[in-house]
Amino acid sequence: MAVGQNVLRKEGVEKLTGAARYIDDIALEGMLYGKTIRSPLARGLIKSISFDTDFDWSPITVCDWRDIPGENFVALIENDQPLLVARDVRHAEEPILLIAAESRTLVEEAASRIRIEYEELTPVLSIEESLDCREIIYGDDNVFKRFLIARGEVDEGINQGDLIIEGCYRVPHQEQLYIEPQGMIAIPTDTGMTVLGSMQCPYYVHKALKQLFNLSDEQAVVIQTMTGGGFGGKEEYPSMIACHAALLAHKAQRPVKIIYDRAEDIAATTKRHPGVIRHRTAVTRDGRLTASEIDIVLDGGAYVTLTPVVLSRAAIHALGPYRCENVRITARAVATNTPPNGAFRGFGAPQVAFAYEMQMEKIALRLGIDPLELRRINMLKEGDITATGQQLRWSVGSEDVLNAAVERSHFREKQEAIQIERASGDSRKRRGVGLSFFFHGAGFTGSGEAKMKARAGIEITDQGRARVLSSSTEIGQGTQTIFCQIVADELGIGFDDVEIEETDTSRVPDSGPTVASRTCMVVGRVIQLAAREIKEKIKRFAAELFGAPEIDLMEGRFVEGGKVLASFAEVAREYAAQNGKLKVESQYASPMGVEWDDDSYSGDAYPAFSWGAEVAEVEVDMDTFEVSVLKITTAQDIGRAIHPLLAAGQIEGGTLQAVGYGLTEELVWDQGRIVNRMLTNYIIPTSMDAPDMETVIVEKEYPHGPFGAKGVGELPMDGAAPAIAAAVLNATGAFVSEIPVTPERLMMIHEGTRRESNED
């Protein structure tokens, strides 16, 4: 069996030896280097563009919006984001011109010889400025999208409570900071355009290219090269770069490569949506939630892009993994003149998770109830109903993860030890321990998967091996490896006899984007079904071939009654000789009874949730207010770990990104431009900042996932920020309602808290 085993990562050796070629490692004969000329202004009108006449422009290819043959939009949810600005600049770093030349040096020189003049307009640069509507930049009221989730009677619920507790929480932008910068190469072909590059979603790029040049499905070819991390940042933005490279390539009739410089990448591409989240919760004295009103406002940036989908996930997760009969969640996304915010691991959930968990901490504090106890009282369990009215019918590991995290971390013992230490006198270094509890819906929200109808397939190669056909991308998370494991076990052949087709739109079907913790649970399921069908077909064939009706396929061999009749490869080759290529494509169908209503925004938001609980131990230096995260213990229910080591890697990685989110990652803005554009000043954790981690994988199998698997990619992003903030509260008494908990911010809160207590 391969499933559940730590088999070798498919592309592992290639990456370790330097042999793996990423987009910037590829050079083509006659290739030009492209560059994007961007607006330094957040809002304005282009008045003139001038090219230095002392410069020889003949070797330079220049494109502006008039070179776009189709519509001047990046194809996404709404056609509202232009590929190149014609006149109206709506955010800083917005692309205006494209240039290409034979060397990077020449292209930089040409870029310095272009002057663009603008008429400046007053930009809208924050959620508050957007909401006050002094400047209208979108629709009538700057609101991109609204959602309302309502359940029960909130007024009644408030009456049932003994106490009303309010909280306002702020969450920042966060940069994905995949280590490989964005990059694409476009190659004009006789029939159309081929683009290769770093991306999560080849069919998004495919759609954008088709729209750009009015190409057919076959004329546009998109190939994913080895991709150095995505985390959502290579979900939608690569379409823009691909179209830019393709425009230049089309005009020059030569291959064009665009690789973003790190500073450009940070300044221009998408970020996690910042937000303001308000909670108003009614509770009984013994800690039961009786009503919850939550208001979410996210900053969408200058264009709609994926914002409605992010907002939707934020709204659905806003109450957290808690039971409450009376709920009213209002959610808005507003426009600002900043680069569009987009997909980032967690996709709206980490924002609301910080808010709902800190609200639980506040409630615990106010009621004098232990925070762990408060979670136990209110946690969702199997059979319970969520804010959208979804009854949790299966695979609910809520209690299991909470118990596992608490036991494994010795949470209680640590709490006590800290209390004793505290009582023995004031120390300049204070320890604290904090807890978080969270959940994450796997797959697209609501009817998304039913509409998407993800496709994937398997074909048997001439060598008699199974080859997986899917557009789900390997971006480090192990897609290739787990797909091969699933196929190996379902089919009954060895892991090494399964391979993956290149992620090339001319060769693989549209499995939907590689996002939303859906690759294993949804696409993995489709692949499992395809494998099942292949197995049936080839078994039937073998049964006839050998006149053995009871024949079975196990570990790559056809056996009957304990006797080996032939190898899988032998039979597969015979099958091909007689019937032609064996190839099966399957399509996703939602499990029976999973229903969602888009109009009332109610029903089964996700076929299954993954569950997590986390304990963070911190030490706060009271001289410098630096927070050191000593250890994180996390327990996560992901249904089934197809590959435990890869799953643990996902959990450790997501958790570390969440440590950065909670502690250090913050963008500094000046007039709508990002100032900290380097790895020295956008602060992600180094090896020395990374805490020790202990990961417990809980497996409450999901009956409709491959071998019981649910999603794991995003869940780990939700828990660390609130767990750390709770630990800081435990250590210092400072209640943090805004992340990141930088030393500067913590010092201010501490000073404020001290002043307050002096005034008491």
Partner: protein, 208 residues
Amino acid sequence: MSDEKKPDKQGLSRRGFLKASGISLSVPLVLNYRMVKAAGAEVKVLGPGKAPIQLTINSKPFTAEVEPRVTLLEALRNDLDLTGAKRVCDRATCGACTVIMDGKPVYSCSVLAIEAQGKKITTVEGLMQGERLHPVQQAFVDNDAQQCGYCTPGFVVACKAFLDKNPNPTPEEVKRGLGGNLCRCGTYVGVRAAVLQASRGRKGGQRG
């Protein structure tokens, strides 16, 4: 990833795109240095324009013609087709361009190619021992100490250099010793385990 190559519709396969950009192994070195008199001695001047350089990389001699301001990283990637070292921050922070120069790990984005002449340089491409992975690479495999792989070549090289200097490190020394390589996938836990596994006197002991 499948290694067999099937020409696709445009006659292009992924590896078909890969172009070895003029590696010149052991080409006789033509000197065209200018010499100037300084303090009674002849001093070599490189440039203006491209100057020939000779580098010793992974025990093999390479020659190239580069501008004096070209970095070792640029020379490796653009002139010698050694693309294992990556350009990520280009500002001496991330470590993805780490190579070993005369026994010490350095950021190749911050070393001039001309200055690397006469020094022993090891890149990730030089770690394999014949067909076998270097013990550090093997430990990375065993611990899955990589995800997207973009920081990995630099990280592997940094780990090798670290272990050469500290054959028996403590976990705390490992944490500190690897502070110069940023990973966003968050593989530090795996990398620490890999380094400890690869360290002297520790066999097996991988996680998972």
